[in-house]
């Protein structure tokens, strides 16, 4: 080891502009938790409006004129909820935080391949976040054309949209830097003996995810530039000739196409949904293998399925556009690819289910969240199938059914996996396990209420209630029969918020808890390198005393004849 390792660092270079992947991971984690909470709060406010239209909102009503959200404000909140949750919450959490913290440790690397870029990636992310939040305070409020920002609406929307686009440029740049780094790290810095076939599935998931980010984000960046040109330079990339706005023909050259945006947007955004789910699958797989004390069933097929999933995710995007009047041939093509892409998801899910079979399952909090992930993601995936077929999608498109579908995959899906991961790796970071009792309270109430929020959406959606209605559908006759669910869903959402309080208490209580002695470096009796070969947590500068050498696969649990029920990857 070089002598630099031991020299004292200033507070700023250690904690603020840190280049240590572990600390950057923690920075990412804390920032994205704050954004997740913020995005969730926006939604809790919106749900008041849906449950009790035309009444003053409690607690936060004073911030708004008349104490209520105007329809424009409602749209703003909705657009920003989506943007914040996806681009500022979940992606930075699963890639920025989990990827950064765990990938180098799991592959036995001293750090990321490019520590300076890693730092830059966090700071561009934060800048993007600040820009997005700032947009709430400009005239006309934040962006209000949906997280999808479809033109022509987005082209002629208020200033908030311009800021949204600038914010996105930062977020995209940050993702690109981060994912480049992860790919190079995995390819170049694997420990000796850690062949591709011995990588923990989590690392594979990060690898595929990073490729998705590198290749899918740039077309959206291109589209963002075009939309900025439309808004700032008066071009007509997305504006057709003779567009009428407010009864008058818009004074632009025209000749553009709103569909162009949809293509470029979904070319990113479908792979993006797999960016949201693949790392979550990785987290869940690690936890399930560890807590069933069994090897993952069908490791090779899971890895293959995730690569296949990543590949296919680039050629399904137009299933978001079935009602744009596409030709039969195109529609056929995209329906087929969509049906094909559900196969690898099923393979992964089935393999995880089969892994449970005959295991000596330990029902600790991380495992509970991981177990709940399986059926919840299953519901999300299965409800996607009718959306992937044009005849059914034509009825379901833009209804609450779609909202139900994707929230099942991202909320009780990915968010649960994130919680599982936080409970699981918390002792790695702090040396202390989170409290199990509070953890279980957090889990069971979250599980109940989250279903209370999203299950009725299928009912409303099947009845034809549209998404993005500021009054929740009161003005539509066909919605009348299912409107009573609005109050139920809103109640569930607020209770879901309350159910997060035990987590927050647990989080701070554990951090400030004093424990004597040296922390157990491997409290879950795990096989992978991050638990077995590092110095005790909390880790200082530098990951390993001696560079680890790997001798076996990642999941050697309950091997017959072994002295313990797990054999570390680095054991000869």
């Amino acid at each position: 080891m070089s002598s630099q390792d031991h020299h004292e660092e200033s507070f700023i270079s250690k904690y603020i502009f840190s280049q240590d992947h572990k600390w950057i991971g923690i920075q990412y984690g804390i920032t994205s938790l704050v954004f997740l909470l913020f995005g969730f709060t926006l939604m809790m406010v919106m749900r008041w409006q849906l449950a009790y239209p035309d009444t003053v909102i409690p607690f936060v009503g004073w911030m708004f004129e008349d104490g209520m959200l105007s329809p424009d404000m409602y749209n703003s909140f909705g657009a920003m909820h989506g943007t914040i949750m996806i681009f500022l919450g979940v992606v930075p959490m699963v890639v920025g935080a989990f990827g950064n913290y765990l990938v180098p440790l799991q592959i036995g690397a001293p750090d990321m391949a490019f520590p300076k870029l890693n730092m830059a990636s966090y700071w561009t992310y934060l800048a993007g976040g600040v820009i997005m939040v700032y947009s709430f305070f400009v005239p006309g409020g934040a962006a209000n054309s949906g997280w999808t920002s479809y033109p022509p609406l987005a082209d002629i929307a208020t200033t908030g949209q311009t800021i949204w686009l600038f914010g996105m440029v930062f977020l995209i740049t940050s993702s690109l830097l981060g994912s480049m780094n992860i790919i190079v790290t995995i390819v170049q810095l694997r420990a000796e003996g850690l062949t591709w076939g011995r990588l923990p599935f989590f690392v594979w998931a990060q690898f595929v995810t990073s490729f998705l980010l590198v290749l899918a984000f740039p077309p959206l960046e291109a589209a963002g530039v075009l939309q900025l040109m439309d808004r700032l330079a008066g071009t007509s990339f997305f504006l057709p000739s003779g567009l009428v706005v407010g009864g008058e023909i818009l004074n632009v050259s025209g000749g553009g196409s709103p569909l162009l945006w949809q293509h470029l947007f979904w070319f990113l955004a479908h792979p993006e949904v797999y960016v949201l789910i693949l790392p979550a699958m990785g987290v869940v797989a690690e936890i399930i293998a560890n807590n069933t004390r069994k090897p993952l069933w069908g490791y090779k097929s899971i890895v293959f399925a995730s690569v296949w999933l990543g590949f296919m995710s680039f050629i399904v995007w137009a299933h978001h556009m079935f009602i744009t009047g596409m030709g039969q041939g195109m529609s056929l093509f995209f329906q087929t690819t969509t049906m094909i892409i559900s196969i690898p998801s099923v393979i992964i899910l089935s393999a995880l289910f089969i892994t449970l079979w005959g295991g000596k399952i330990r029902f600790n909090t991380p495992m509970l969240f991981a177990l709940a992930f399986l059926p919840m993601f299953g519901i999300g995936g299965l409800t996607g199938l009718p959306l992937g077929l044009a005849p059914t999608d034509i009825h379901l498109h833009d209804t609450y059914y779609v909202i139900g579908h994707f929230h099942y995959v991202v909320a009780p899906g990915t968010i649960f996996a994130i919680f599982a991961g936080i409970y699981f790796w918390f002792p790695k970071i702090t040396g202390k396990k989170l409290n199990e009792g509070l953890g279980k309270i957090h889990f069971f109430f979250s599980l109940i209420f989250i279903n209370g929020v999203f299950m009725p959406m299928f009912i409303q959606g099947l009845a034809g209630v549209s998404r993005r209605l500021a009054d929740g559908g009161v003005s539509y006759a066909h919605a009348a029969g299912v409107l009573e669910w609005n109050e139920f869903m809103s109640m569930s959402a607020w209770l879901l918020g309350v159910a997060q309080i035990p987590f927050i208490i647990n989080f701070f209580m554990t951090i400030f808890k004093k424990v004597d002695g040296v922390a157990d470096p491997n409290p879950w009796q795990s096989t992978t390198i991050e638990w077995t070969d590092t110095t005790s947590p909390p880790l200082g500068h530098g990951n390993f005393e001696i560079a680890p050498v790997v001798h076996r696969g990642p999941y050697e649990y309950s091997v017959e004849g072994a002295s313990e029920d797990f054999i570390p990857q680095t054991k000869k």
Partner: protein, 197 residues
């Protein structure tokens, strides 16, 4: 913290880190320009006539000159790298300087092209052809400027590394070169797509 494979090659991949890094970055750049070319094609096939009636006539001689300039700068760039490989730091300085000179020349010509068009009222808002013309060439110009900043750094202050760590410095020049050739390559496609066809 010493990160391995910054100068030496990793045996099983045969690469040093930055080499893989730059190629992945270029892959993302390919997709960025891919998105723009896709937009170009969509506007073009969707238009009744292309280029639209009444649009500006772009200046082919100027663009041809610029193509020559940019290709030349690519050659000097690769020669700069080859000079380092042959241990000739003086020649490296000369070729890198030439590369910067040619890049600046490209920008000057581009400036005259833009201002000639703008002064006649041919703004991006005029029609979709000009819109995509300004956007694509503008983004390309930003890439040129970014490349000049990197090359300028490696030419002057950054070249100190040649003394302390020649291996790594040569790698840096190779990586900067890969980026620069890519920028050249994009122009090779932009030139016919926007000016000639």
């Amino acid at each position: 913290m010493q990160i391995p494979y910054n100068e030496e090659l990793r045996p099983d991949t045969g690469l040093y880190n930055a080499k893989l890094g730059i190629w992945i970055f270029l892959a993302s750049e390919i997709m960025l320009f891919g998105g723009l070319f896709s937009a170009y094609i969509m506007l073009r096939v969707g238009a009744p006539v292309w280029p639209p009636l009444g649009t500006a006539q772009l200046n082919i001689p100027m663009a041809t000159f610029n193509t020559v300039v940019l290709i030349t700068s690519s050659v000097t760039m690769v020669m700069a790298w080859a000079s380092l490989k042959m241990n000739n730091f003086g020649k490296f300085k000369m070729y890198m300087g030439l590369t910067l000179l040619f890049s600046a020349m490209f920008l000057v010509v581009k400036y005259f092209e833009y201002s000639a068009k703008l002064s006649h009222g041919f703004t991006p808002a005029h029609d979709t052809f000009l819109a995509i013309y300004y956007t694509m060439t503008g983004l390309h110009v930003i890439h040129i400027i970014a490349g000049m900043i990197v090359n300028g750094y490696l030419w002057m202050p950054g070249s100190k590394m040649w003394k302390s760590n020649p291996e790594r410095f040569t790698n840096r020049i190779e990586v900067a070169g890969l980026y620069w050739h890519f920028v050249d390559l994009v122009w090779i496609f932009l030139f016919p797509s926007l000016y000639l066809l």
